[in-house]
Subunit: 316 residues, 2 copies
């Protein structure tokens, strides 16, 4: 216990010092996603820079139930002010008609950096961006498994040249486990430092095919149910994905062509390998019952039984 504290406290103090040295008397920004990585970076940077740091949260319309409000409240308790930027319409506009997951990812990346983010940077006149990139992000990007929108430098794009700012990534040598410990030591609440992973694409990553406001409403409701019912499961990650495919169902004795929700719940140490959780049939039954009752568009619920590899944890 003493060693654990010492190791991570040392890390925190060192990073605070480094951030101060790099930023000097300039200003910096951090952008919260709501996850443990960007939250830890924000608290670290706030400790290093105080009022020289501005913190933003971009509401892209793809967040979970009440998420923007919860994030603001959480950081308020840490005396960190978060400015929420409403960019819902911009994100839905660029997602319209896009089916290919790489195109969707690119569209979100582009509108994030080249529109919303650029505007923040220009208006804030800052020179430094604090980012919550961690080791797994880089390993997976290099291996070609996924393209992370927060690892521009690693895929050969220079943010300094293209956007006029410099990226600081204090967590780049840590894995998720370490970040959780750092976040705890930074006094972030349990619902953040023990939060299950949630992708940068947010709920758009849980919609197969075109992402529309209507589909986001469906998958948001399903996410609330799945997170509530599995919060005590101890699993590494759990979420629903909304298929584009439909299948027959019947309600009030009439045939209908309904939506399909797939539930993913996995055991994993660091997301590199994962195994489907063997959750009880009673829990599975409750999940399907709540989802099909509370979301009338959904007539079918499935449970993903594939490990990673050969599947990935996420669907896109």
């Amino acid at each position: 216990m003493v060693n654990y504290h010492l190791k991570y406290k040392k890390f925190i103090n060192q990073k605070i010092k480094e951030i101060r040295e790099i930023v000097g008397s300039e200003s910096a920004i951090s952008v919260l996603s709501g996850g443990v990585d960007s939250s830890a970076v924000t608290v670290l940077a706030h400790k290093a820079l105080g009022n020289q740091l501005k913190t933003f949260f971009i509401n892209n319309g793809l967040m979970r139930e009440d998420e923007p409000k919860e994030i603001v409240d959480t950081f308020k308790k840490l005396r960190i002010k978060v400015k929420v930027i409403d960019a819902k319409e911009k994100f839905f506009r660029v997602l319209k008609g896009k089916i290919d997951p790489e195109e969707k990812r690119q569209a979100i990346t582009d509108v994030f950096y080249e529109d919303v983010f650029k505007k923040i940077v220009k208006e804030s006149k800052i020179k430094f961006l604090l980012q919550g990139t961690i080791l797994t992000d880089i390993e997976e990007t290099v291996a070609g498994i996924k393209r992370q929108h927060n690892v521009l430098a690693q895929i050969g794009i220079s943010p300094e040249k293209e956007y006029g700012y410099q990226v600081i990534e204090p967590l780049i040598k840590l894995r998720k486990d370490d970040v959780r410990k750092v976040a705890k030591l930074l006094d972030l609440p349990g619902k953040i430092h023990q939060r299950i992973p949630f992708p940068g694409l947010a709920l758009a990553a849980r919609v197969i095919g075109e992402v529309t406001p209507k589909k986001i409403v469906i998958v948001r409701k399903a996410t609330s149910i799945v997170e509530k019912e599995l919060e005590n499961s101890g699993a590494f990650q759990y979420f629903p994905a909304l298929m584009n495919d439909r299948a027959t169902g019947m309600r009030r004795n009439k045939r209908e062509f309904g939506n399909i929700i797939i539930i993913r719940c996995v055991e994993s140490k660091d997301a590199r390998k994962a195994f489907p959780s063997r959750i009880s049939w009673n829990t599975l039954d409750k999940l399907q019952r709540r989802i099909t009752r509370e979301i009338p568009e959904v007539t079918r619920v499935c449970y993903d039984i594939t490990p990673k590899p050969p599947a990935t944890i996420e669907y896109v």
Copy 2:
């Protein structure tokens, strides 16, 4: 036991008598699908009509592994000759580009009746068709849950006017359970009288989106695996469905966009209500392992956990 035998033997004798009375000295045909309904009707009609009955099996390219051969062999043992019509190309041609399940169903119905079947009828110069329609087919058609291609009369189409023949449906008042008992008394082998239900659309009903020869190969392999691994489960019905949606996966450390197979396995008495079978996690794990190893196109396997209603047993 005596009552059981008596009741169904009486039914069989009565139907044989009725078929003889209706057909007289004319000819009749039966078309096998491989299922228990059309098999029972064929044996009944053969007992009634002997050589006045001609029996066909249409290979539409949508059958399971080795199915055409197995059907011919089974009926050979009962001294009933089955003529196999190869219509694979015709079926794939009409299915090309069709995504909507009702359009696919219609295309299969149309090519079956208006092309392949019409040809058989014309060339055989018969006046009577023996069909394996059962009570559930009619109930579901009337309720609008599904459109059965073998209940033309019930949905207001007159086969006599439109195709020039008369339909005889000896099983029309029986449910699946009764048909199985009749089939057993007719000396059909266990693999037919205890056979799990398989839809008229065959493997086309297990492909979401466009049905192509390539997708049929995938779902046929998956069907072999699922039927083999679950044959001793005692479940009412079990099958895989191939989604049109794809999801990310990884093989040899590379990201790929793979196919999704959903496994459906249900407990039911007569298909009107159904509950997902609570099969063991070891079996589920074996299923996903065999499917992803033996079918490299598939990177994800899910298990359907929805009862009927609100889902149906089948996907289309």
